[in-house]
């Protein structure tokens, strides 16, 4: 029961904290046009630019090939692993989830490779070591332990899958039950709760942040369309759009 309530609490803080952050980003004005040029001139172009950044890490590719390789492996792996975890929360398991589940342990390995690479860079490259706070290492370690404990349960220390599904489906339907007693599972779930808890207060905010960055989201159209700064005294009444 404890695990259930912990996850509910963590999930609530995650959702509310993230929502509060996103609302703040959305409500904070962008007083001036500051797209990084060359910038798209159409909304479609902006969407394409964001997709290139979010799916392909285009800027990172230009910046540092190794960081790009490791970073992309980690993120792509994380996406697949996260989605395949829907198998524990859907009954019957959704079709497309069932299709990616067989790849989830490969994806977890991709995460481990990516995270290990990123951690090595953080430790070995003097420039990156210089800019790293303890939390920057711990964040990587957190994800590594999450991926590692998941892989161990996949290959070696099998948890009580039926009991686990009973627990997770209970979370969805509101019928809390006990999490099967297996130490690795408890580590895995506990760290996942921790991840949810720190997400809205940490650098993980880059995930929503990138979608609100005027440098990426603004169009290059200042000469065609009057842009109003909502807090500038100069704003004339008929300028408001």
């Amino acid at each position: 029961m404890f695990a259930g309530w912990l996850l509910y609490l963590a999930f609530a803080i995650f959702i509310l904290g993230l929502l509060a952050r996103i609302l703040r980003y959305a409500r904070t004005p962008a007083p001036l046009k500051i797209p990084l040029m060359p910038a798209p001139r159409t909304t479609g172009g902006v969407v394409l630019r964001l997709l290139q950044e979010v799916l392909l890490f285009r800027s990172l590719f230009r910046a540092s090939r190794w960081t790009w390789v490791f970073g992309w492996l980690f993120h792509a792996g994380l996406l697949i692993v996260a989605l395949s975890h829907l198998q524990y929360f859907t009954d019957p398991i959704w079709g497309w989830v069932a299709m990616i589940v067989p790849f989830s342990h490969m994806a977890a390995y991709a995460m481990v490779v990516g995270l290990t690479g990123l951690l090595c860079r953080r430790i070995m490259v003097v420039r990156i070591r210089y800019i790293s706070a303890p939390s920057d290492y711990l964040m990587l370690v957190l994800f590594l332990v999450l991926a590692g404990s998941g892989l161990l349960m996949h290959h070696v220390f099998y948890p009580d899958i039926l009991g686990l599904r009973h627990f997770t489906l209970g979370l969805v339907s509101g019928n809390l039950s006990a999490l099967p007693a297996q130490w690795l599972l408890w580590v895995h779930i506990g760290l996942f709760a921790l991840l949810l808890l720190i997400f809205p207060f940490s650098k993980l905010l880059h995930a929503p942040g990138v979608f609100f960055n005027p440098v990426f989201t603004q169009r290059d159209n200042a000469r065609g369309k009057h842009h109003v700064n909502p807090w500038s005294e100069n704003t004339e009444p008929d300028d408001k759009r």
Binding site: T67, R127, I128, I131, N213, D220, N234
Partner: protein, 500 residues
């Protein structure tokens, strides 16, 4: 070089590379502090205020509420390190605080301490720090070692723009009374006299008359440089360096020749005798707005139909992106043209439509390369297509000069290296920083020079031109190897007898 050099000019390396982290390598480089009069003319306190710590923290909170960019940037950096070897000041000095992320962190660590839960609860864990006098001093030092060129932003996976962070930091510094002399003094001159150099109207009129005589002597054509001519079609707003300093003035002569041959009606304004807007550099919306309004006022007073900007990088960024926001819609101007326009766009159009007679062989004595100015390349646009700000100047150069060669691709276009003197750092006491910050550009110049025996580098930014004229000699080049683009254009124009 006449002055004594009390620092080691870096050797130009075979390729641009990480010089290795050298803590405090440039911690001694800081610009002079603004005095009372410089601060107060801009509406800032004259000296460090009582309770500065609290005021600075409040200002930081105010700014994250006013600028979405700053708010997102304070939260979003994942310390991936992609930017760490991208700043010309880091590459030139090796000081780790010149790595863009470390520069941002000077502000971000304070933000985290006072505005985030982990920073309040576990400051050591997340690297949050108290705002002490030491930290304030670091802000002053290292936010004045950023030329706000946005190169790091190009390589940031989430697009964090250090220029926005350094502008915010400088605004906080101004707010608590510790502004920078060079920039604030210049803005004061613009408020008082209309231009950065403090050139009054009679002196400007004299200068322009002298230039008209020089041009007529040179080419035998009565090219005019009209001042305050009401009813002209075009108001030309250009950096005041164009009025007399080399190589800037040759650019101004070039614009005048272009306008004359194309038969365009134009004027300069003594009220808006300056394109530059240093308000941008200190992140002061009010000052930037006040400076920008002169231009709108001049355009209205003179009844012009178009506003055209001369060769000035940050001025073009402010004009292209902010002018209408800062001063109100520019609907009173001729809608057949974009408002405002860049002089390169004007010349480009005239060349394309055959309204200029050019003979590129007139520049056969030159073998040129082109320096993309940061505020043009990454801060603005030209023409109808994204990237026009890179394309148009090159097409103009190719139309007027037969020998054009590119510097390496990772040093041009949107990856261009700053000249090392932008963003309000073009002041003598920062010469060491300026020389070292120019290293990546000098490396690129040397590369193209070795391959193609370059005689000149062309630029369209007054700061770039002044900076290169100063630092080129430190690296074994000549100060006059930097040229205005419109000097090339002006020199290639062919004058027929019946036009005289």
């Amino acid at each position: 070089m006449t002055e004594k050099i009390d620092f080691d000019v870096p050797e130009i390396p075979a390729r641009i590379e990480d010089p290795g982290v050298q803590p405090h390598a440039s911690s001694h480089l800081k610009p002079y502090r603004a005095q009372h009069q410089h601060q107060e003319a801009l509406g800032f306190p004259g000296e460090l205020v009582d309770g500065w710590q609290e005021k600075a923290i409040d200002k930081l909170g105010e700014l994250t509420g006013k600028y979405r960019s700053l708010q997102v940037f304070m939260d979003s950096c994942m310390k991936c390190g992609a930017c760490t070897d991208k700043c010309h000041y880091y590459l030139g000095t090796g000081d780790p605080n010149n790595m863009p992320v470390a520069r941002q962190d000077l502000l971000r660590n304070v933000y985290r301490r006072y505005y985030t839960l982990p920073g309040k609860l576990f400051p050591k864990l997340v690297g949050a720090v108290d705002l002490t006098e030491d930290v304030l001093d670091q802000w002053y030092t290292y936010f004045h070692q950023c030329s706000q060129c946005r190169r790091c932003s190009v390589f940031c996976p989430v697009g964090i723009d250090t220029s926005e962070v350094s502008m915010a930091a400088r605004e906080i510094l101004d707010t608590v009374g510790t502004g920078q002399k060079y920039v604030n003094e210049v803005i004061g001159k613009v408020h008082r006299l209309g231009n950065n150099l403090g050139l009054p109207e009679p002196a400007l009129a004299d200068t322009l008359e002298g230039l008209e005589e020089d041009i007529e002597e040179e080419i035998g054509v009565p090219v005019r440089l009209p001042l305050d001519q009401a009813g002209a079609d075009i108001l030309l707003v250009t950096p005041s360096a164009d009025f007399f300093a080399e190589p800037h003035v040759d650019g101004l002569i070039g614009y005048a020749k272009v306008f004359h041959q194309a038969g365009l009606s134009w004027t300069l304004s003594s009220h808006a005798s300056e394109a530059a807007n240093f308000g941008l550099f200190i992140g002061s919306y009010d000052n930037m707005q006040q400076v920008a309004k002169r231009i709108r006022q001049a355009a209205l007073d003179l009844g012009v139909k178009r506003i055209v900007f001369g060769e000035c990088g940050h001025a073009w960024r402010v004009a292209y992106n902010f002018l209408s926001t800062l001063t109100g819609p520019l609907e009173f101007l001729d809608t057949a043209f974009p408002s405002p326009q860049h002089v390169v766009e004007v010349t480009h159009n005239l060349l394309q439509s055959g309204r200029l007679q050019v003979d590129p062989s007139a520049n056969d004595d030159k073998r040129v390369t082109y320096h993309d100015s940061c505020n043009v390349a990454r801060g603005s646009g030209m023409g109808d297509i994204p990237g026009g700000q890179m394309l148009l100047p090159r097409q103009v150069i190719n139309a007027v000069c037969n020998n054009f060669f590119e510097m390496p691709a990772n040093t041009t276009g949107d990856a261009t290296f700053c000249c090392g003197g932008g963003g309000g750092l073009l002041t003598d006491e920062l010469i060491e920083l300026r020389v070292k910050g120019a290293l990546p550009r000098m490396q690129a110049l040397q590369t193209v020079d070795k391959a193609h025996d370059i005689t000149h580098m062309v630029a369209i930014c007054a700061i770039c031109k002044s900076q290169f004229a100063k630092v080129l000699p430190y690296y074994g080049f000549q100060m006059d190897q930097i040229l205005s683009l419109h000097q090339l254009v002006g020199d290639a124009l062919v004058w027929k007898v019946n036009e005289v």
